[in-house]
């Protein structure tokens, strides 16, 4: 009995310095699988450590553990960034590893993540993992040409395909118009990108439309209390999410099934 208590206290030890503890419930299908989730967030100076645990019920053999570490750094004028890595392993021998880095340096910003997923059904929520099996890389870049024009570029490459996109954002007063083009797998699979962002009654509203080979409409809304987004795509897919206070709710439905994730972040500030 003493051993049990000791193990329990040992498990609780990281809470003493933890910044936050996230509790969540994930549900997905087809069929019904429920995933109670815990994410412990532990900042230590410029370092932040994360520990993840998700149990899938009733298939308990899919229980998943994860660890992550990242380090923030300052990088000259208006510069900051972070590098990190995280990895997950499941009882059914699936695993997922990812390294990531981001840097904002004056007029340019770059985000890069490279990962590898093995034998796992992708889960779009908590955390956002590779949507494909095998090795993948994501790249997002921004470059401010002047105070009105910003060049945006993104790429997503994975085993068997890829996607690349470039767009120009033009800011007029407090509104931003975006126009660009992208392609899926090859140049002939092209699509257009149109975007509009504006402040509205103390909030910010942004709409983005991708039309062509890729058909997708995304709407973002944010005010002081709520952040919400809605994505509608064809072939049929819908995703919606809302975050308020310490709560967040995300849902997705597509032809393969559905996913749902509700989470609450408990601030600890070190117990």
């Amino acid at each position: 009995m003493k051993k049990l208590w000791f193990s329990f206290l040992l498990l609780l030890a990281p809470l003493a310095a933890a910044q936050s503890l996230e509790f969540g419930v994930w549900a997905g299908g087809p069929g019904l699988s429920v995933g109670p989730t815990v994410n412990l967030n532990l900042p230590k100076g410029d370092w932040t450590f994360d520990a993840y645990l998700r149990a899938y019920l009733p298939n308990t053999d899919e229980i998943s553990f994860g660890l992550g570490a990242r380090r923030a750094f300052e990088a000259g004028p208006a510069g900051r960034g972070e590098v990190g890595a995280r990895g997950f392993i499941g009882m059914d021998a699936h695993y997922w590893v990812e390294g990531f880095g981001s840097v904002a340096l004056g007029k340019a910003a770059l985000d890069l993540s490279v990962g590898h997923t093995y034998n796992r059904t992708p889960s779009h929520f908590w955390p956002l993992q590779g949507e494909t099996l095998g090795t993948y890389a994501r790249l997002d870049g921004k470059f401010r040409i002047d105070r009105h024009l910003t060049l945006l570029a993104r790429g997503y490459f994975h085993r068997g395909g890829g996607q690349a996109e470039a767009a120009l954002a033009w800011r007029v007063n407090r509104q931003t118009f975006t126009l660009g083009a992208g392609g899926v797998d090859r140049a002939s699979n092209a699509y257009a990108v149109l975007g509009y962002r504006t402040p509205y009654d103390g909030a910010v509203v942004e709409g983005r439309l991708r039309l062509g080979t890729l058909n997708e409409f995304r709407l973002d809304y944010a005010d002081r209390s709520y952040k919400a987004h809605l994505t509608l795509a064809y072939p049929a897919r819908a995703q919606a999410g809302v975050a308020w206070d310490a709560w967040a709710l995300d849902a997705e439905v597509d032809q393969a099934g559905y996913e749902f994730y509700l989470r609450y972040t408990l601030p600890l500030e070190g117990l």
Binding site: G76, A78, R80, K107, A108, A109, K142, T150, A203, A222
Partner: protein, 219 residues
């Protein structure tokens, strides 16, 4: 008659002289009495050692000790802003739409080789012994009657500067120009205060960020 006049002038001079401390008290009174906004234009040196053109809009709410510095130039900082409150410093980065929050004690105001938050309180620099001020001299600054005060830092390495020069409007008792120099005499920041006006800010006006910004809290 001439001797009498000369004696009167000599006797009168000490009464006209003003110490740097008394002058900064008067400036502080002006700057502390109501919210104000000013445009600061000139040059600053980045941590990389490059001198860059600077154009900043400073907004303050003295009652709550809140300062907001909006960057117009240099280009690399344009549209970024810093909000300094008694306990926190908020650094907004436009390009990534992020707000990085630091505890005031650990704050790093990104992009500047010199901490702008210390520039406004000249009186405190003297009180804390960081600067030893010379007696103010009467000069004209852009045709306006002004006081010119020079201060020297006994410990330049600790202060981050070796010398500071300030021009103060003699009538309105507000800064006209502030310049900080390193030990080699190279300017770290040299800014003219233009478009000074009192305003009606509230704390919510100054501690305001885009609602869709990502928040990063540094401990």
């Amino acid at each position: 008659m001439r001797r009498g006049l000369a004696l009167l002038v000599l006797l009168g001079l000490p009464a006209l002289a003003v110490s740097a401390e008394a002058l900064f008290d008067q400036v502080a009174q002006v700057l502390d009495q109501s919210p104000w906004e000013a445009r600061l234009q000139g040059r600053i040196v980045t941590p990389g050692g490059d001198a860059q053109e600077a154009d900043l809009i400073v907004k303050t709410l003295p009652e709550k000790q809140i300062v907001r510095i909006e960057f117009q130039k240099p280009d690399a900082l344009a549209d970024n802003y810093v909000v300094i409150t008694p306990d926190k410093v908020y650094n907004y980065l436009f390009l990534t739409n992020q707000v990085v929050v630091y505890p005031r004690a650990k704050a790093r105001i990104e992009g500047l080789g010199f901490d702008l938050s210390r520039m406004g309180d000249l009186r405190k620099l003297g009180e804390e012994g960081e600067v030893v001020w010379d007696a103010p001299r009467e000069v004209r600054f852009q045709k306006r009657p002004a006081w010119h005060v020079v201060g020297r830092a006994p410990d330049p390495e600790a202060s981050g500067f070796a010398r500071v020069e300030v021009w103060i409007d003699r009538e309105e008792k507000r800064p006209l120009r502030t310049a900080f120099y390193d030990a080699e005499g190279q300017p770290l920041s040299d800014l003219e205060w233009t478009a000074f006006r009192t305003a009606r800010f509230t704390a919510d006006d100054l501690v305001a960020f885009p609602p869709d910004a990502e928040w990063i809290e540094k401990k």
